[in-house]
């Protein structure tokens, strides 16, 4: 067990709490850097997807996990980022500019969606975002002069500052760089007054308001940031798939992002990354399992939704804190050994308090 003696307020603000963290995160980064040389191309490609989904997951986490606002239409922000990137690239914009613009356009859309969030909350907000998601999906299919409509849109090869990104390895480094950037950015955000305001709004809107937090401003900021990060993920998604069509950004995609958060653990950046990694690995395992399962089960088209459903229900029922929560429990068990008690992470249950006055 490591004891941290705090002698300075700035210690609370440090990104790394102690030397051990610096070492282990450094080791992780090193492992991620050498991974593309050691792994076969196929798995590098999957690692890219893990990074993309992690970025999207962190974006949604800012909104759901830290600000406590639900969004069932996050695929729309992915789509805005992806299509903006595709459109700008087609018109010859350099990557550095086009990705900035993709994030900006998605962020602006986020502000528009955030506006109803000022008036409605909880489930009403969920339904407003759901409605928005459907409208964007349909809009993309109809605006075929820009998006190519249902026929889809192809993307050309990517080039960054004159360097052609023609292999998965190079693309992987690019995405990894942005993932690290986003993680650091969000970590910084969370220790800033803005981030703390987000968390305060999540924990109680009324007390946040009475502490002088402008709900309208911070909720809109949260939507904009979340959407902008999702837009970046969308832009990379576009470059990875190289083909965009509206049916890649459906309601189910939004739900999948939420599932990633729940599986990983809502309320921490680790959660988004763990969830994304788990998500991709499970999908690959299902593909692998199809070969050795008896055909009566393996060839069922319903296999994937069934397994996703089971995983989701299982996590909510048995590990509501997600993979990150499980990791915390295991770590605490060894740190406190042999004093770990079963009830240490038990959540307080509460009687339902109706939000309806009557």
């Amino acid at each position: 067990m490591r004891f941290l003696f705090k002698t300075d307020y700035r210690q609370d603000l440090r990104l790394f709490k102690h030397g051990g963290q610096v070492f282990w995160y450094g080791a992780l980064l090193l492992a991620l850097m050498v991974a593309p040389w050691l792994l076969p191309d196929y798995w590098v490609s999957q690692l890219i997807f893990v990074c993309i989904y992690s970025i999207a997951g962190i974006g949604l986490m800012v909104l759901v996990g830290f600000t406590g606002q639900v969004s069932l239409g996050h695929a729309a922000f992915l789509a805005m980022g992806a299509y903006t990137e595709a459109y700008l690239q087609q018109h010859g914009w350099p990557f550095a500019l086009s990705i900035t613009f993709s994030a900006l356009v998605a962020g602006l859309t986020g502000i528009i969606v955030g506006l109803p969030a000022l008036r409605v909350k909880g489930m009403y907000l969920a339904i407003a975002t759901l409605a928005f998601g459907f409208i964007v999906e349909e809009g993309l299919a109809r605006a075929d002069s820009v998006t190519g409509g249902n026929a889809g849109k192809m993307l050309g090869p990517l080039e960054v500052f004159g360097l052609p990104i023609d292999s998965d390895q190079r693309f992987y480094y690019l995405v990894l760089f942005f993932l690290v950037l986003v993680v650091l950015g969000v970590m910084n955000l969370l220790r800033s007054p803005t981030g703390r305001a987000f968390v305060a709004i999540r924990d109680s809107e009324i007390s946040a308001q009475s502490m002088g937090i402008n709900l309208a401003r911070y909720k809109t900021t949260a939507f904009a940031l979340s959407a902008a990060i999702a837009g970046i993920a969308g832009a990379f998604y576009a470059h990875k798939i190289r083909f965009l069509s509206p049916d890649q950004f459906t309601f189910l995609q939004s739900i999948e992002l939420l599932m990633i958060l729940v599986i990983g653990g809502v309320g921490s950046i680790y959660g988004a990354i763990f969830g994304a990694a788990f998500w991709i690995v499970v999908q690959q395992l299902i593909v692998l399992a199809k070969d050795w399962l008896p055909p009566a089960i393996g060839q069922q088209t319903g296999l994937q939704p069934t397994i996703f459903g089971l995983i989701l229900v299982g996590f909510v029922l048995f590990e509501p804190m997600g993979l990150y929560g499980r990791w915390l429990k295991i770590r605490t068990f060894f740190q406190l050994f042999p004093f770990y008690r079963k009830g240490m992470f038990r959540r307080q249950k509460s009687y339902m308090k109706s939000e309806r006055l009557k």
Partner: protein, 298 residues
């Protein structure tokens, strides 16, 4: 003019379906303050049960109809007992995610059942392809209604009446109202809150199954028919989420607007009309037409 009436009539029939699914949402929301995202999938299960009843077991249609409702009643209760009960007292977001998971599970498992599978099935109904003409002479000049639409409207009306009587005039209905208003107080008054919640889930599942069976002759029965439930959210919101008559009125509004939009507006508006209506409604009157005042007590 006649064409307009014709569109409104079919919009009302479609709206009844939305209204019934929205009713399922509202019942559960009122009782447990969570949204059940698996509502559309419960509807799909109802449709498949009707299919099994009529085709595999050879029951007459209406017998299969009621059998399916009863089975779904118990299915809903079992679902509450096994999946939702352990989550009592947890945040609403958790419960919503678990219902989404149940929806995935239902869609996946249904395709694995041999007789059901991924195919699109036709539910044989006794009133198939019959047409009723109102006003006008014979089949010409009048308002033409298909029997499927009339059955939808009539059954919905009967179901609403039955639910109204249940809530107003039976002990159990009043207990449900009390539970939905204040769980803790209801519990102190000796109302078995858990059993009431279970029953509410059962009734909600049965209402959705009813919607599925009524919709089956029009859209056929398949594993993804539950996605129509996503259009019932706007219906529930337009009506005010906590209101039972509101759910039906909201459903009718959405149904009629959608049908009219499909005819008069450019292609593509039909699918998003419901969502545009709900966004306008949330901007203008977030509590819906019949909604209760929303305010959080500190």
């Amino acid at each position: 003019m006649l064409q307009f009436l014709q569109l409104v009539a079919s919009g009302i029939a479609q709206g009844c379906i939305y209204g019934l699914i929205a009713l399922g949402f509202v019942l559960i929301y009122k009782a447990t303050e969570t949204i059940n995202f698996a509502q559309g999938d419960l509807m799909m299960l109802g449709g498949f049960l009707g299919l099994t009843g009529t085709l595999a077991m050879g029951l007459p249609f209406w017998a299969a109809f009621f059998a399916a409702l009863v089975v779904m009643l118990f299915f809903g209760m079992a679902l509450e007992r096994v999946v939702l009960r352990p989550l009592l007292g947890h945040p609403a977001f958790t419960v919503v995610m678990v219902t989404i998971g149940v929806g995935y599970l239902a869609r996946g498992l249904v395709t694995m059942i041999p007789e059901w599978g991924t195919d699109t099935h036709v539910l044989p109904v006794p009133y198939k392809d019959q047409i009723v003409s109102v006003g006008g002479n014979g089949t010409e000049g009048g308002l033409i209604l298909s029997m499927e639409h009339i059955v939808i409207i009539v059954v919905t009306a009967l179901l609403i009446l039955a639910l109204y009587l249940l809530f107003k005039h039976t002990k159990i209905g009043i207990a449900m109202q009390a539970t939905s208003q204040n769980q803790l107080a209801a519990f102190y008054m000796g109302i078995p809150v858990r059993r009431i919640n279970m029953l509410v889930w059962g009734i909600s599942a049965a209402v959705s199954a009813c919607a599925g069976l009524l919709l089956a002759p029009i859209t056929f029965v398949h594993a993804n028919m539950g996605f129509i439930g996503l259009k019932a959210f706007p219906a529930a919101v337009v009506g005010g989420f906590g209101s039972i008559p509101g759910a039906l009125v909201g459903g009718l509004i959405i149904g009629v607007v959608e049908t009219l939009a499909g005819f008069y507006l450019p292609e593509g508006f039909k699918d998003i009309a419901a969502y545009i209506v709900v966004l306008v409604m949330l901007a203008v009157k977030p509590n819906g037409l019949f909604g209760e005042k929303l305010a959080k007590r500190v």
